[in-house]
């Protein structure tokens, strides 16, 4: 049994704005019957403002809840405002969704995006930037569920996804035949490598950051045991520290250094760091 939030339960039991708008200005669509979920989003405009929105969904409880809350989120907003809505916004509005159900919120976002795209196209506008990063030219990675590289990248970026399994939960990509799992892994590796190299620190920045982590996160913990720690030097990726107070001469000192100080610094600053006691 899934653990659904109260909000999800409320919205699948009593979905808001169900149905069709006969004279809708735009209709957005996402998903398909074969995939197991699909959504039609009807929008009625008043100038640049969404005057009314209705939906029809084929899908599970969280798909219905996502669609329902999406209509509430967009009614009364301008097109410029709703353009910024991400799948995470939809999931957050529902008080969160189980990991395996995040793709339901993605479907809501996609239907909205489809609607806006159609509208802007008719209006003669050029391509607009969407939070999902989906462009017509995008390469399809998962052919089973028709998920593009841009969609995967965007889900990775917005939700901080690290594993192929997480990507599948959010986008459905890789969920059927699994043939694209390698490609998803490559996208993840490329993205996270780029991100970490983009954040490469200068030597001074690195020392400042190490010092800050030690001051704020390491030192207070050691003080609880009556000890403390001092940063002595940083040479390349080697951090030299001195244990003081009760910690100095403690027989567990090397344990403290490796399993506590080093793991925090690796996690917070740079995974290549090693810590030495001087």
């Amino acid at each position: 049994m899934w653990e659904y939030s109260e909000k999800v339960l409320e919205h699948y039991r009593n979905p808001r704005n169900v149905g069709k708008i006969d004279d809708a200005d735009i209709i957005g669509e996402a998903g398909s019957l074969a995939c197991g979920d699909s959504l039609k989003l009807y929008i009625k405009l008043d100038g640049n403002v969404i005057k009314d929105a209705k939906f029809q969904t084929f899908g599970c409880g969280s798909a219905v809840a996502s669609s329902s809350i999406l209509t509430e989120m967009i009614i009364g907003k301008t097109l410029d405002e709703v353009k910024k809505i991400t799948n995470k916004d939809i999931a957050d509005a529902l008080g969160g969704l189980p990991q395996e159900k995040m793709h339901c919120s993605v479907m809501g976002q996609e239907a909205l995006e489809d609607a806006l795209k159609k509208y802007y196209k008719e209006d003669g506008w050029e391509e607009i930037e969407f939070p999902s990063g989906k462009k017509e030219s995008d390469k399809v990675i998962c052919t089973c569920f028709n998920v593009t590289e841009g969609q995967i990248l965007e889900a990775v970026k917005i939700n901080g996804l690290k594993t192929v399994e997480e990507v599948t939960n959010y986008t459905k990509a890789g969920g059927a035949c699994g043939r694209c799992k390698g490609a998803i892994k490559n996208i993840l590796e490329e993205y996270w490598n780029k991100t970490s190299s983009a954040e490469e620190l200068t030597p001074t920045q690195k020392i400042l950051k190490i010092n800050k982590v030690i001051d704020q996160q390491v030192s207070p913990q050691l003080q609880k045991d009556g000890g403390d720690i001092e940063l002595v030097d940083v040479e390349g990726n080697t951090v030299k520290v001195k244990l003081t107070g009760m910690c100095s001469g403690c027989k567990n000192a090397s344990m403290t250094i490796k399993s506590f100080v080093e793991s925090i610094l690796k996690d917070k600053v740079d995974s290549n760091l090693t810590v030495e006691q001087v």
Binding site: Y12, R13, P15, V18, G19, K20, L33, A34, G36, D37, S38, L39, K40, Q56, T57, F58, G59, C60, G61, A63, V64, E100, K101, H103, F145, T168, K172, G175, A176
Partner: protein, 395 residues
């Protein structure tokens, strides 16, 4: 609460629980011990083995081995015999097998086995000719389920046993009878079945105990090495209360087989007919006569299964679905897909499985409530035109 998910698990029969309790309390001795205090637990195991022998229609209680569950029975049978038959690298099963066999086959393929998966038709009926054509001289093992967990379709395992043995007498034939035990008569002694596994919690014993019938001529290695228990084929101190429980459950199930096949079947048929008559977007996924008497699998077109289950749960009805959305995987049921159930109904298929504790009132309640739920759920569906056509066609 109305419990229509008895193929997932069943309620423990009170009489089974009573049978188990002494071995939790006063009679806790290890049945292998020498003193008089151990006689009662040892006798309880012997008695349970005898009841299980009758339940499976075996010749001798020595052919019965107790395990922890249906999956262990299947693993013990399949891995154990393959280990004794290293020269042969071909194995056969069906596309609609339970994951405990299917996933085991997938892992055996990685170890170098060649596996064939036999198809079923749109009613879930196994393609016997295909199975026959796949049997080779180097086929080490054929594994076919007695009854399918999702559709209830019964495979002609006795006939398949004859086919296997005629074509390749050395090939071992294992039957996963987890969904047949307690629902239809099983009689291994009159067949050429080599091994057959059952699970207690599917017929009102608790979870955590199963059994495996092994024909005396079959050689296999144990999964669990250790002591002499279960004639050296399954080491570990016997789980006395649970073994006593499954024995009692087997006795009770054997006694109520007639009730299952008449009264439970009548209620199942009533539920099935009622739903098909009252719900315009329903279709029966398998209408075969040859089904276990408690199971019905009904597809609701253009509505997703998890949503149906949630709404059923809201009125206190427990059922299950072959829908992808309920399982955490994104793929709908491999059984319904193998049958080629149309996409329109595939994601909205619900399994109702009854038991001897099901009452007429419960069946009537579901028949009465389901049309209203489906009315509401179809109104949310984007496929209004298609639904309208269905409605008109059904009048």
């Amino acid at each position: 609460m109305i419990y229509f998910d008895n193929n997932a698990t069943t309620k423990i029969d009170e009489r089974v629980l009573e049978e188990m309790l002494p071995y939790f309390k006063e009679d806790y001795a290890n049945p292998s011990s020498m003193y008089d205090f151990a006689k009662k637990p040892a006798a309880a195991i012997k008695e349970a083995r005898g009841k299980m022998k009758d339940f499976l229609g075996a010749n001798n209680e020595k052919e019965i081995f107790f395990t922890s569950c249906g999956s262990e029975s299947a693993n013990m049978a399949i891995k154990g015999t393959l280990n004794c038959n290293k020269g042969k690298k071909h194995i056969i099963t069906t596309k609609v097998e339970h994951p405990c066999v299917l996933n085991l086959y997938k892992s055996l393929e990685k170890e170098g086995y060649e596996a064939d998966y036999i198809s079923v038709d749109s009613e879930g009926q196994l393609d016997i000719d295909e199975l026959k054509s796949k049997i080779r001289k180097d086929t080490a093992l054929v594994s076919v389920m007695y009854a399918n967990n999702e559709t209830g379709v019964i495979n002609p395992v006795e006939e398949i046993a004859d086919i296997v043995k005629t074509k390749s007498p050395e090939t071992i034939f294992f039957v996963d009878a987890v969904q047949a035990g307690g629902k239809i008569p099983i009689n291994v002694k009159d067949t050429q079945i080599d091994m057959l596994g059952v699970s207690g919690h599917k017929f009102h014993a608790p979870k955590g105990v199963g059994a495996l019938y092994i024909r005396p001529s079959v050689r296999l290695t144990p999964l669990i090495n250790g002591g002499h228990q279960e004639r050296g084929l399954r080491a570990g101190t016997e789980n006395v209360p649970y073994i006593a429980g499954i024995g009692k459950a087997a006795e009770l199930a054997l006694n109520s087989l007639n009730y299952e096949m008449t009264e439970v079947k009548r209620l199942r048929d009533k539920l099935e007919d009622g739903i098909l008559k009252n719900v315009f977007n329903s279709r029966l996924n398998s209408s075969l006569k040859n089904r276990v008497p408690n199971t019905s699998n009904i597809g609701f077109e253009y509505v997703e299964g998890e949503l149906i289950l949630l709404h059923l749960s809201d009125i206190g009805v427990c059922a299950s679905s072959g829908s992808a959305c309920t399982s955490g995987s994104l793929e709908p049921s491999h059984v319904l897909r193998a049958m080629g159930i149309p996409f329109t109904a595939l994601h909205g298929s619900i399994r109702f499985s009854l038991s001897r504790f099901t009452t007429e009132k419960e069946v009537d309640f579901v028949i009465e409530k389901l049309p209203g739920i489906m009315e509401k759920l179809t109104s949310i569906s984007p496929y209004q035109d298609e639904l309208m056509k269905l409605k008109q066609r059904r009048g």
